[in-house]
Amino acid sequence: MSSHREAPEISKDPVADNTDVYAFVSPDKPDTVTLIANFIPFQNPYGGPNFYEFGDDVLYEIHISNSGTGRADISYQFRFHAEIRNKKTFLYNTGPISSISDQTWNRPQYYSVTRVEHGRSRILARNLAAPPVNVGIRSTPNYAKLAGQAIHTIGTHRKVFAGQRADGFFADLGSIFDLGTLRPFQMAHLIPSAAAMGVNGLQGSNVHTIALQVPITDLTRDGRKPAGVLDPKAVIGVYASASRRASKILDDVRGIPTWHGPYKQVSRLGNPLFNEVIVPMAEKDKWNSQAPYGDKRFAGYVTKPELAGLLPVLYPGVFPNLAAYKKSRADLAAILLTGIPKGVVPGFQNYTGPVQADLLRLNVAVPPAKSPNPLGLVAGDAAGFPNGRRVFDDVVTVELRAVAGLTIPLVDPSFKPDAASAAIKDGTSNTNSDYLTSFPYLGTPAGGYQSKPGTPAA
């Protein structure tokens, strides 16, 4: 979750595993959009001596679809290469790293940024330095300052960062994966126990983040600021992907693998939890290899979601109205596959047309909220999920409530949601570093020395 280890194949390839995607109008620079894609889930902060880094053999991309086709009209590509400064040591660093250019960092990594628009590529920057991971107080003192040196400006109005961050996603993984238990409501579970507080399963975990901040006009269909929220050109669709070369040959003479052929997509992510809880296990790997414009083939899993059928079974008597609802879930299809047309939520739309595609849709004409609500649009905050996604949005609760039927009345006023659909939650919040108020918005990663192992129990 939200897309950590969500499919059988990608769970064995963490360097290419896209865990979360965020897209929002930057609260401190409202003429810009911030796009974030996270990779490499469940990083143990003290996982050395070969600490986490981006894959030199992976093509990372953040895509924008602004034409209503569900296809990528603009793609930002990120290609990495790591170096070894001192080939005679096993150490990640040979002394304190106070600057990202310090020679004591033995394994620096650099990257390029390429923008592809309608097939035409333009390299925006090369040899940008990623920061080291947060090793500990001796190796990476003042980590926040060190990471800040890895925020690069491209031109005058664009920023990019690629490196380790605290995982900002939060969910009670241990509970949810144990037969759909929500600890605050587990007294009503089929196998009941006393209600309890949620436990953030991502606590103490880091991820690797690619964050990009660009002017709104870089992303819209006509290169202009939209006239208003109801302007169809105000909506962009966002997804991220990771791709690997078609063939990897393990050569015992050369001692290193050789790669041949074009890049093939192995991971993608638009809306949180789509592949995780909508797509059946047998099709998850296939879904990861496909582009969003073909998602019509998965639409049946959205309009008749397995989870909506499980909730009344796992929580007997709690969701009678949901259990009795047999119509196609047009509310979920709108939220996840087409965007919400105008007229459904007064004064709002993020509709990209009839093409069904799992895209994180952002209406860039909605200004940042002065008092953001992590429950986003369902709580009246149109600047939040599912209008894009901010780092602090509680997407687990929002999607749980939507699947439980809270959003059905948007398209079917005759339906009366069960009382529980407005209350269910997993009971978690961010327990990692605080989110930042400025780019790249995700918090300082947990340090290896500073972090303590978890508490095993059987």
Binding site: R245, A246, S247, I249, T258, H260, G261, P262, Y263
Partner: protein
């Protein structure tokens, strides 16, 4: 790889016409004409001759569907006889 297919492959490779990875007599794979790549550009015989290495993927032995992976390109072609010889089986 079974003994039968290994034998077939070795005989085939020994004849100097092709190997799954490495230098090959290019015209035997591509023919004399360039082959259209998936991206629309054309793969010339020289593209393979100058490559340090490349991969030939027999996608379907029966139909002879092959993919040549060279650099960051993938070129599809159909050659039932070549696929069959690599697999060490007789063509129908």
């Amino acid at each position: 790889m079974s003994d039968a297919t290994r034998r077939g492959f070795l005989v085939f490779a020994g004849a100097g016409t092709a190997a799954a990875v490495g230098a090959v007599a290019v015209p035997k794979i591509l023919g004399e004409r360039p082959v259209a790549a998936a991206g629309g550009d054309e793969l010339q015989a020289a593209d393979l001759a100058t490559a340090e290495s490349f991969v030939v993927h027999v996608k379907d032995v029966k139909s002879g569907e092959l993919a040549i992976l060279v650099g960051d390109r993938e070129v599809l072609l159909t050659d039932r006889e070549l696929a069959a010889r690599l697999a060490g089986v007789a063509t129908a």
